[in-house]
Every structure is written in structure tokens, then in C-alpha cells.
């Protein structure tokens, strides 16, 4: 997988197919990006599990924190890692010990570890790096268009009235991702420099 620019169908397939998401580094502080994403994905119907050893015994939006991936005790489809790039590898290594393996490992906006990605992909796990699942869900459903964001999708069909807690269709016509190529190129240059 080319991790500089993902085809929309790759992201769409992931978000359409996963149901259970373990969020590593989920924060109970309501201005942290992980809190935003956790809350949004829960409202869109995903079964969310907060993973953060610092908050065991507490809950995030009604879901109890667990200390580590191995403490979850049930299969998870996707692991969403809210840690910076230098802390990715140990999480991926722990994920690879799970049985069954997760289908997807997702690294948050700003996080990228190509070696960890390669390791996960070598056992058939799909990897997404430096993206936010909330933003991607909002983009592919066009919900993010309320914010003037370029969803890079088109549709001539009537949109559903967005209500809380509803799964939204992600199957709009995609305009290829190439339209924000400048942004993707800038991210690639940055990752090559660091």
C-alpha cells in the first residue's frame, strides 16, 4: 500500500466493514482529538473500546477503559492508535499477538511508522497512517461538507437527513483523492525529511 495517498475505496472498505474499534491512547479530556474521534465514531454506531492504562477503572462515554489490547478479551476489527510515531511499534507488536488478529491498524493524524506498517501488512492486516477516521468518515459521507471541507466526493442522490446515532452511507462518487494532491505531497515531503 502506498501510504502517501490512499484510494478512497481503500478507506471506504475499511470504514464500511469494521464494527469494533479499540482506541489506544483514548483520552477522557474533552478537547483532545482522541476524545473527538471516540465520541463521533461511537455516535456513528461503532463499538468503541478505550485503551489507556492511566484511566483503568474509569469510563469514557459509558465504555470502561482497559489497560492494554490484550485486556480486551474479545475480537476487535480495528485498532486506532492515538500515540505519536515513536510509540507506534510496541502497540503494533502487541496487536500482532492477538487471536484473532485485527483486520485493520489505523494510525492517527500525524502518526506514521513505516516499519510497523510493513510488519502488520506482512500478516495481512490493512494499515492506514496519518489519517483521522472521524475526518475520513465525515468526508466520505460528506457530513464534513458542513465545515466547508472538500469531501472530494460527488452525488446526485438526495442525502439522508443526518440524525444522531445513524450510520451514513459512504458510497458517494469519489473524485479520486487526486484533488488534494498538493496536501498529500506536502505530507510526504515532511515524512521524508523527518
Amino acid at each position: 500500500m502506498n501510504h502517501d495517498a490512499y484510494p478512497d475505496n481503500y478507506i471506504r472498505g475499511i470504514l464500511n466493514n469494521v464494527k469494533t474499534i479499540a482506541m489506544v491512547g483514548a483520552s477522557p479530556v474533552n478537547v483532545r482529538p482522541s476524545y473527538f474521534a471516540f465520541k463521533y465514531l461511537a455516535q456513528r454506531g461503532y463499538d468503541m473500546i478505550p485503551v489507556n492504562p492511566g484511566h483503568v477503572g474509569k469510563e469514557l462515554l459509558g465504555k470502561p477503559f482497559v489497560a492494554s489490547l490484550s485486556d480486551i478479551g474479545r475480537p476487535v476489527d480495528m485498532i486506532d492508535i492515538f500515540r505519536n510515531s515513536s510509540h507506534i511499534m510496541p502497540v503494533v507488536e502487541e496487536a500482532l499477538t492477538l487471536d484473532p488478529l485485527p483486520m485493520v491498524i489505523w494510525m492517527q493524524l500525524g502518526a506514521r511508522d513505516d516499519a510497523a506498517a510493513l510488519k502488520a501488512e506482512s500478516v495481512g492486516i490493512k494499515v492506514v497512517m496519518n489519517r483521522c477516521p472521524k475526518i475520513e468518515y465525515g468526508r466520505l459521507s460528506s457530513e464534513i461538507s458542513w465545515m466547508g471541507v472538500n469531501s472530494r466526493t460527488l452525488s446526485s442522490k438526495r442525502a439522508p437527513v443526518p440524525t444522531q446515532g445513524m450510520r451514513l452511507s459512504l458510497n458517494r462518487m469519489s473524485v479520486g483523492g487526486g484533488d488534494t494532491a498538493a496536501s498529500d505531497r506536502a505530507a510526504k515531503n515532511k515524512s521524508e525529511q523527518s
Binding site: P7, D8, N9, R12, N30, V31, P33, Y35, F36, K39, Y40, Q43, L109, G110, C132, I135, G138, S142, E143, I144, S145, W146, M147, G148, V149, N150, S151, R152, L154, S155, S156, K157, R158, A159, P160, V161, P162, T163, Q164, N171, R172, M173, S174, V175, G176, G177, G178, D179, T180, A181, A182, S183, R185, A186, A187, K190
Partner: protein
């Protein structure tokens, strides 16, 4: 679901719009409302905390305006956009995110006269100091960089003479200085030039001109290219530092490659207040649907008129980058191969008096202070748009006393030429 990139004309008609969720209305409705109800207290809190996507209050966002924003973002190849009340408002909102009092920005000397005034006088009172550079001398931008420089501002096709700016060369200077390049793309429109493809980090427009295109609505827009890293060195605290306005959110960390557009909305538009009326957004959106058709006709007409003027015995000089003999023709071929725009200047052998006489005798061209209308327009910049500049600055910005500026419309070119011919020969 194929990942296929549609063409410019398809995006001009479709991007951002879809049939209305409740009524099925196919044209984008005008959501002429100040406010939007919340589902419950948690929904309201989520919206105010920027945790959920949705509408609160039209000063911050509006569904009609959102269609316009996404459409222009798509046409420019940006990640997001924010529509505001005017092109001038766009410039205030952009620079408010980038500059603290005492900071500097470098601006090309060849700009719309209104921008020169805004930068020189209004922004000075905010403590934002403009440093001028010459777009024909790239080294003058390099020399102008200081540790307090926060941005570089240029026009892609520059007012009033329609000169073409070497965007890539100036973007190299900006990258080296670690500051974003802001390009005012008003006179080109994304149909002719997409500055982001040439290294712009932020694009601004007066929507009033070619994008709206019909001379009926004032508006402005800011497009975020998603290319600039705001986190380095704490140079851009509005983007990189915890914002007290939002209980400590860091916008770049939260919104990634469209954080600048969000900052403009939630720190700029929300607090400064220059919201675009949804009615104007609707008018401008309707205009954009025909942008590719109009812009090509504007350019084709402009070239024909410029060629006619260049061959007329009463004309001293024509400044139109689309003419092979023009000093900007090479840059025009590189940056605007479909056409060099429709705004240009010429000077008459009879000087100032001949210019005044020409303007008074024209019957199709309207004498007014706008450009980018379906109608052809004429103005004498030295006594109007650039009148607040001193004589030396007028000449430097291409608006000397003998200069007449035209904005060529989409009428039949034969009629425009006949009108000029009668006015010149009388």
C-alpha cells in the same frame, strides 16, 4: 465507486452540492436563516466544542455557504474553504490567523489598489506591517524576509495591468523563509490558474469578480491548500497552540490539513464577524456553474480587443500578457495557457485627457469600479481605484495618469471593438 477525477466543468456544476435532504430540491436552496436548532444539549455542546459537524449560527457557517466553500475548494484543489463577506474580509481573516502585532508580511507591489490601501493603512493600525517587494524582481522578496516575516502575499494575475506573477519562484522564497504563500487568484479564477499547483499555501478571492461573474453580489473566499506545517517553532500560535477560545484545543493537531480553514472560521469569522449572506452565496454559486464557459469567452474577447488596440494609431501601448509581444507573455504561456485573463490596461498617445475623453464616449463599456462582470467595463485607475496612492506609487503599480483599464465582458467581440473604434476616432 471508481476513483476517477472529474474535469473542471463537472466540479464547477456539482462539487459541494447534492439534492436537499428534506425536500429533494436539486438547486442549492438559500438557507436564509440566522440559526439552526440543536437535537439536544449534548448535540449543542458537541457543535460548540467543534466535536461534531453541523450548523449553529450563520455567522459561523450556513448550508448554502458551505456548498460554495466546498465547490471553490474543489476547483482550486484545496482541502477546505471559508466564504466571507468580501475579498477584503478574506484578507483580514487570513492575516489575523498568521500575524501578531509587530509582525510583518511581504506583499507584491502590483496589487489591487484597495489591497494596497488596506495593507498600508488599516493593517498598520493592527500592528501588521507590510513590506513591499517587486514581483518582477524575485530577489526583492528574498531581501525583504526578516525574522518577523509571517507570510508572503501576491496576485496571480495582477491588477491593474494583468501582469502575470511567477508564483513558483516566489513560492520557493516562501518555503525557504518558512512562511506560507498567499495568492489572490481573483483575476485568473481557478479556470485559468490553480495557484496551489504552483506552490501556494493559501488562495484568496474576491468572489465578486469572475467567480460570481455577473456583477451582482459581493463576496470573498479563503482556500486552504493543506500544504503548510503550522506546528514548527510556535510561529503560528493560532494554529499550533492551545486556544483559550475553545478550552485548549490545538487546531492543527485536531484538524490536520484543513486546520487553517477551520482557524479562519472559528477564530476569524466567528470573532470578527464578516459573514457572507446566504443569498449572495446562492448568486455566486449559480455564477460558478458557468465559470469555464464565461472565462474562456472573456479571455478570447480580451485577446481580440487587445490586438485591435495594439494596432490602433491613437494607442501608445497595450499591457496584455496574452499578446506575443508582451513582457509577461512567457509567464502567461506557462501559468495561464488557456488565456491571460480579461483585465488589462493601455495608454493613449493623447495622455490623461484622451483617456478621459475615451471613457466618456464609450457606449457599451460601463464606467465603474469593478472587474470580472459579464458586461465590459472601463475605468481610469489613477483617478479612482488607485487615486489614494501618490504619483510614484501609481506608476509603480501600473496605474500611471495616462493608463486606462478594461475588463472585457462576454458580449460579441465585434461590438466591443466597434465601440472602442468610434470612441477613439471621434
Amino acid at each position: 465507486m471508481s476513483d476517477r477525477l472529474p474535469g473542471f466543468s463537472t466540479l464547477a456544476v456539482h462539487a459541494g452540492a447534492q439534492p436537499d435532504p428534506t425536500t429533494g430540491a436539486r438547486a442549492t436552496p438559500i438557507y436564509q436563516t440566522t440559526s439552526f436548532v440543536f437535537n439536544d444539549a449534548d448535540h449543542a455542546a458537541s457543535l460548540f466544542g467543534l466535536q461534531a459537524f453541523g450548523n449553529i449560527y450563520t455567522r459561523i457557517g450556513n448550508p448554502t455557504n458551505a456548498v460554495l466553500e466546498e465547490r471553490v475548494a474543489a476547483l482550486e484543489g484545496g482541502t477546505a474553504a471559508l466564504a466571507v463577506a468580501s475579498g477584503h474580509a478574506a484578507q483580514v481573516v487570513v492575516l489575523q490567523q498568521l500575524l501578531q502585532p509587530g509582525d510583518e508580511f511581504i506583499a507584491a507591489r502590483k496589487l489591487y489598489g484597495g489591497s494596497i490601501n488596506q495593507f498600508t493603512h488599516a493593517f498598520k493600525s493592527f500592528g501588521w506591517n507590510v513590506v513591499w517587494a517587486d514581483p518582477d524582481d524575485i530577489a526583492s522578496f528574498e531581501r525583504a524576509v526578516t525574522p518577523r516575516t509571517k507570510a508572503i502575499f501576491i496576485e496571480s494575475i495582477a491588477n491593474p495591468a494583468g501582469s502575470i506573477t511567477d508564483i513558483e519562484a516566489i513560492s520557493t522564497v516562501a518555503r525557504k523563509a518558512g512562511v506560507p504563500l498567499i495568492v489572490d487568484n481573483t483575476l485568473a479564477s481557478p479556470y485559468l490558474i490553480r495557484p496551489i499547483d504552483h506552490g501556494a499555501d493559501i488562495v484568496v478571492h474576491s468572489l465578486t469578480k469572475f467567480l460570481g461573474g455577473h456583477g451582482n453580489s459581493i463576496g470573498g473566499i479563503i482556500v486552504d491548500a493543506g500544504t503548510f506545517d503550522w506546528s514548527t517553532g510556535g510561529k503560528y500560535p493560532m494554529l499550533s497552540e492551545p486556544r483559550p477560545e475553545y478550552h485548549g484545543i490545538r487546531l492543527q493537531e485536531t484538524f490536520g490539513n484543513f486546520a487553517f480553514a477551520i482557524a479562519c472560521r472559528v477564530l476569524g469569522l466567528r470573532d470578527l464577524g464578516p459573514a457572507l449572506s446566504p443569498f449572495n452565496a446562492f448568486m455566486i454559486l449559480t455564477g460558478i456553474e458557468t465559470l469555464p464557459l464565461r472565462m474562456q469567452k472573456h479571455c478570447d474577447n480580451a485577446k481580440a480587443v487587445a490586438e485591435f488596440l495594439a494596432g490602433h494609431p491613437a494607442v501608445a501601448a497595450v499591457n496584455y500578457a496574452g499578446l506575443a509581444s508582451d513582457k509577461y507573455n512567457q509567464l502567461a504561456r506557462k501559468y495561464a495557457p488557456k488565456g491571460a485573463g480579461a483585465v488589462f490596461t493601455f495608454s493613449l498617445k493623447g495622455g490623461y485627457d484622451a483617456g478621459v475623453s475615451l471613457v466618456s464616449k464609450l457606449q457599451l463599456f460601463s464606467h465603474l469600479a469593478n472587474v470580472g462582470d459579464t458586461r465590459s467595463l472601463v475605468i481610469h485607475p489613477a483617478s479612482t481605484t488607485h487615486s489614494q496612492l501618490d504619483d510614484a506609487a501609481k506608476v509603480k503599480s501600473g496605474a500611471g495618469p495616462d493608463v486606462v483599464r478594461l475588463s472585457i465582458g462576454i458580449e460579441d467581440k465585434e461590438d466591443l471593438i466597434a465601440d472602442l473604434e468610434q470612441a477613439l476616432s471621434a
